[in-house]
């Protein structure tokens, strides 16, 4: 089992300690640990059904963990009331696997929607139009502002979802399978976009994927989630050359 403790001391923006989550008799997370540092890209890899999405949903309070600590920017989210959690959520962007665009709203309304509850963060007199345009320009889709989600391709939907995530100017972005269901070229474009955003805004990224190419290109560090625990932690080259059969299985092409 590869475990690295020689990580340089940096500001931890997100930390999970001994996280447990079960659904009936199905123990999905059995003491999972994670630390995400400021400005870092951390990739979580695991097989389908290994609990990656459950973990990320516990992280933003969409699911309640059975036990363990979830600290986001030094706030234990399990102890926050709804109001405080909502305020903290403005600093956490979440890109959903299927984009999760509101299909009854236009692209513009999709982007305006998160702003309505976070006027405190930007002041009462925010220039919504300018913010929407800037977010769309960041993903190269300013021309799609008045389209409905049903008029967009899979790649465009993912870009708009990314723009919606960016509009609140989050400090941490959580990506749930950002390249799944996309063709290789579009997947590559999304990966480049994620890198550009990280450079431009200095965000910290937690990326859930089982796309090895995506992990290779984007990760500073990786965690392999196996049997509900953080089975192996390291960078891509360390993990990809591991002799552990469970780790090797991830990197076979």
């Amino acid at each position: 089992m590869t475990k690295h403790n020689n990580i340089p001391k940096r500001n931890i923006v997100l930390e999970l300690k001994d996280l447990h989550k079960s659904f009936g008799d199905n123990h999905v997370l059995n003491g999972f640990n994670l630390q995400l540092f400021q400005g870092e890209s951390l990739v979580i890899m695991g097989k389908s059904g290994s609990g990656k999405s459950v973990m990320i949903k516990c992280l933003v309070g969409l699911l309640e963990a059975d036990s363990g600590t979830i600290s986001v920017m030094h706030n234990d989210i399990t102890k926050l009331d709804q109001e405080a959690l909502d305020i903290l959520r403005a600093d956490i962007g979440f890109l959903f696997q299927g984009s999760a665009l509101y299909d009854s709203m236009t692209v513009r309304e999709n982007l305006e929607f998160p702003l309505r509850r976070h006027t405190k963060k930007f002041g009462e007199h925010i220039d919504t139009e300018a913010m929407v345009l800037e977010a769309l320009e960041n993903v190269g889709l300013a021309s799609a502002i008045d389209l409905m989600p049903s008029e967009l391709s899979g790649g465009m939907k993912r870009r708009v979802a990314l723009a919606r995530t960016l509009i609140l100017q989050p400090k941490i972005i959580l990506y749930d399978e950002p390249t799944s269901g996309l063709d290789p070229i579009t997947a590559k474009e999304i990966i480049i976009l994620m890198q550009d955003i990280q450079k431009k805004y200095g965000t910290s990224s937690l990326i859930i994927t089982h796309d090895v190419d995506c992990a290779r290109v984007i990760s500073d560090r990786m965690i392999l989630l196996i049997d509900g625990i953080d089975y192996a932690v390291g960078n891509y080259s360390e993990l990809s050359t591991s002799t552990d059969p469970k780790i090797k299985a991830f990197f076979k092409h």
Partner: protein, 260 residues
């Protein structure tokens, strides 16, 4: 052979669902009085539900009025009581047929629509996305829809009643050469506050039931497209059953007041 354990499991799951529905209803009342209020979305939902159901309710009401009059006319003629037609039709439509038929039509139109819409939003993680963005999805999606259908149903019932009575008048005009003034004078003579008020109050409860059940089924939809279909379908079935139960209770309570 039906296994006892199967029946027990079904009863168990039914009771669990009733319990969850009760908690859902309690949450609706709790959230609906808490700030911030989603007035814009409430108005949008009122417009959508009222406007989209109006034609269906109108056509149904018109046909009910026609059919009721055509079916009853021969019997009333036999007893020489055809002049009682406006009274009979108006009281039966306003007290019972109008509210229940309109509610059943809206359960199919609005209830299944809410179930499918929220179910699809749940399955495609739109509800999660809303929550992550700091908006309370229960307040934005459930409270607005339940309030909208609760407010709109009594209006739709009144419109449906008027159109049904107009349909009845058309038959009477063609078959019995009864004038508009005479027919509607008799309608208003027959109707009392005691007919209109309980029916309107009952309609609010019908609307509440349609909204709550539709939202409950959609909001707690299981994963997958099959779950969305099940949510829409069970919303209609469960609401229809609930409407008859509410109707029975309403008639029972009204009857007590009439006796006082």
């Amino acid at each position: 052979m039906i296994k006892f354990s199967n029946i027990k499991a079904k009863i168990n799951s039914f009771l669990i669902e009733i319990g969850e529905l009760s908690f859902f209803t309690a949450r609706f009342f709790r959230e609906s009085i808490k700030r911030p209020f989603e007035f814009k979305e409430l108005l949008r939902q009122c417009y959508n539900m009222g406007n989209r159901s109006l034609l269906l309710v109108g056509i149904t009401g018109f046909i009910i009025g026609l059919v009721l009059t055509l079916q009853t006319r021969p019997t009333l003629m036999e007893f020489g009581a055809v002049s009682w037609m406006p009274s009979m039709v108006s009281i039966s439509i306003v007290r019972e047929i109008g509210p229940i038929i309109t509610a059943l039509v809206c359960a199919g139109r609005i209830g299944s629509g809410i179930g499918a819409e929220l179910g699809s939003m749940r399955v495609t993680e739109q509800i999660d996305a809303m929550e992550v963005s700091g908006t309370n999805p229960f307040k934005y999606l459930v409270v607005t829809r339940v309030l909208a259908v609760t407010l709109m149903l009594p209006l739709l019932v009144i419109i449906g009643d008027v159109i049904a009575i107009f349909g009845s008048y058309l038959v009477e005009n063609v078959k019995g050469n009864v004038s508009f003034m005479l027919y509607f004078n008799q309608v208003f003579d027959a109707l009392e506050f005691g007919d209109v008020v309980p029916a309107t109050i009952k309609s609010f409860f019908f609307g509440l039931a349609i909204g709550i059940v539709g939202c409950f089924k959609g909001y707690n939809c299981e994963k997958g497209t099959e779950g969305v279909g099940k949510a829409a379908n069970s919303a209609v079935v469960f609401t229809s059953l609930l409407l008859f139960i509410i109707d029975f209770i309403a008639v029972f309570v009204t009857d007590i007041f009439y006796d006082l």
